[in-house]
């Protein structure tokens, strides 16, 4: 048996954006080492080094876009889809870092580790979109998950933060065991772990169907956990509530984007010939996810938990596009996640400004009367809430239109109708926040402080600008995400 390693196939350009982030993560750790009690300056540079890394990776991403290459004998791919996902992840990372600058030093002095872990998380998330092999996929999934477990427990003195971390870890590790089992069964059923190979074998009708279908079911359960589909969602509200708010903001968008990107690629590239087996189960999952997410969000007193259930509902909306099975679904999901990054991180940024020291959370009551006491904050929150509810002309509207169009294109008209109905339910709890801000009196005058800082203001400005501009001029962005995925044989 002879195995040769052809170096020309190790096309490192494919992972250049990820490599850039890793280099900057090392720089962050190196800077952190030079900080001493007498000279803490290098530690204070770490957020800016991390932010420079995000900008550098975005520039590298721009320079590698437009090429379609695979590497490591087909283990990963750089196509328009992977590049698009990279932008979304980098946007979420950048906004997350801006939110963290003033917040993290309050809860944990080891800020260098925080920014290094954030960059490494982003690296794993970006690899999720590039993976073209089940092994790469599993590895990328674990890279970002392990880092996120630590990030959500970053506030080591807080019982809530550590509880969130241990819950997230145990359920996450549990689901990744299912994920690995699913990968093993698909390997057993088709004899390969590469997406194109799996598609080839299933297209030729050579696959061992029982093993393959069992593998698909376990894989869907693993993805369902990561994107928080019902009934795999029970961790979401707890972790979103307990984790430090900048981490929640970053991971609510980053995890969802990365896991959905990989989900779409596995289903549409590796398993399109088993569409008949997975479309209806995914459609049903989407319906119960939208139902549970929206109705549970109605009853939440905590703003962070409300946003957590709303994120579950949004996972349901995105899943409708995948259940449709059309290639446009992937483009619609990317566009939607891009708008979601602005709206959701913006909403969490406002919650972060409202929360009290040590509480790591803000209640619905806290928003009451905000329109009078802090008109700017209230206005921003109103924009994000309108955006998340899908109100035109803000960014969320066109994203939802594209998603439901993709469901219709796949012949699931009933699913699109259900999704629109649940969107109407969702509007109730978003609008209730706005009503509280403008039509209710402040509950507690003493809790009037709002924690603002320059980096947070910059982050809020970017988020609100994105929510409005992408909504008013959607054409450019829709084109950027069009026909993004390199399909099998296409």
């Amino acid at each position: 048996m002879e195995t040769t390693l052809d170096l020309s196939t190790l096309n490192l350009a494919v992972v250049l954006p990820e490599l850039t982030l890793i280099v900057f993560a090392i720089l962050v750790m190196a800077a952190d080492v030079f900080a001493t009690p007498k000279n803490p300056a290098p530690r204070q540079w770490t957020p800016w080094i991390a932010l420079a890394g995000v900008v550098a990776a975005a520039i590298v991403n721009l320079s590698v876009s437009g090429r379609e290459v695979t590497l490591f004998q087909g283990a990963a791919i750089l196509d328009k889809f992977a590049v698009g996902l990279n932008y979304i992840i980098l946007l979420a990372t950048g906004l997350g870092i801006l939110l963290s600058v003033k917040y993290i030093p309050r809860i944990n002095k080891q800020v260098g580790e925080y920014y290094a872990l954030t960059l490494l998380t982003a690296t794993g998330m970006m690899m999720m979109g590039a993976a073209l092999d089940l092994i790469t996929l599993f590895l990328a999934l674990e890279i970002f998950s392990l880092a996120l477990y630590i990030l959500s427990g970053l506030n080591r003195t807080s019982p809530r933060s550590t509880e969130a971390a241990i819950k997230y870890f145990l359920l996450g590790a549990f689901s990744s065991a299912f994920f690995a089992y699913g990968g093993a069964l698909i390997y057993a059923g088709t004899g390969t772990t590469q997406y194109y190979g799996i598609a080839q074998v299933t297209a030729a009708g050579l696959a061992n169907t029982p093993l393959l279908y069992a593998g698909i079911a376990l894989l869907v359960a693993g993805f369902g956990f990561k994107v928080s589909l019902v009934p795999f969602h029970s961790w979401t509200p707890d972790v979103y509530q307990g984790a430090p708010t900048p981490v929640t903001a970053f991971m609510s968008v980053g995890t969802k984007a990365a896991a959905f990107a990989a989900f779409f690629r596995v289903m549409l590239v590796a398993l399109p010939f088993s569409y008949g087996a997975w479309s209806m189960p995914l459609a049903l999952l989407a319906v119960i996810t939208m139902a549970v997410g929206n109705f549970a969000a109605l009853q939440q007193r905590s703003l962070k938990r409300m946003l957590a259930y709303s994120s579950i509902a949004h996972a349901g909306y995105i899943l409708t596009a995948l259940a449709g099975g059309a290639a446009e679904g992937a483009d619609a999901a990317l566009f939607y996640l891009f708008t979601y990054a602005f709206m959701n991180i913006g909403a969490f940024a406002v919650v972060m400004a409202l929360e009290e020291m040590g509480a790591e959370d803000a209640m619905q009551d806290r928003a009451k009367g905000l329109g009078k006491t802090h008109p700017i904050m209230a206005f921003l929150m109103a924009i994000f809430m309108f955006g998340l509810s899908g109100m035109p002309p803000l960014a969320g509207f066109y994203g939802k239109v594209l998603l439901f169009e993709a469901a219709v294109a796949g012949g699931m008209i009933w699913l699109a109708i259900a999704a629109v109905a649940f969107t109407a339910v969702g509007a109730v709890y978003y609008l209730r926040v706005i009503a509280n801000m403008y039509f209710a009196d402040p509950v507690d005058e003493s809790a009037d402080e709002v924690n603002r800082s320059l980096p947070l203001d910059v982050g809020l400005a970017i988020a609100v600008a994105g929510t409005i501009l992408v909504g008013v001029f959607p054409g450019f962005w829709m084109n950027a995400f069009q026909q993004s995925m390199a399909l099998f044989g296409g």
Partner: protein
């Protein structure tokens, strides 16, 4: 020569033991051990399918490589998990999952 069925039966047994432990135990460390058992069952499966699977020639090492990665990840998971268990013990003085109930609503 041991047949493929025995290996798969062993893997299924180990996976079930792990699943049972992860679902029924209330001690965080016991749950972690259960999860590690599940991952090891995956490894047995992967190597068995590589050795006996009829779908691909044995020269293709995907099954072995996959199982190596799973071993490495299981190690990393144990390290992170135990660290988190220690940090939760320091704030709450318990690792019983039923007593970790501050977050709900």
């Amino acid at each position: 020569m041991v047949s493929q069925t025995w290996y798969l039966a062993l893997a299924a047994f180990v996976f079930s033991c792990g699943l049972y432990a992860a679902l029924t135990r209330r001690n965080a460390i016991a749950v972690l051990i259960g999860i590690e058992l599940m991952l090891n069952a995956v490894n047995i499966n992967l190597v068995t399918f590589w050795r006996y699977g009829s779908m691909a020639p044995m020269e293709q090492l995907s099954g072995q490589v996959f199982s190596l990665f799973v071993i490495a990840i299981a190690g990393a998971e144990a390290a992170v998990g135990l660290a988190l268990i220690i940090s939760v013990y320091r704030t709450r003085h318990t690792v019983n999952l039923d007593e970790l109930d501050m977050l709900k609503g």
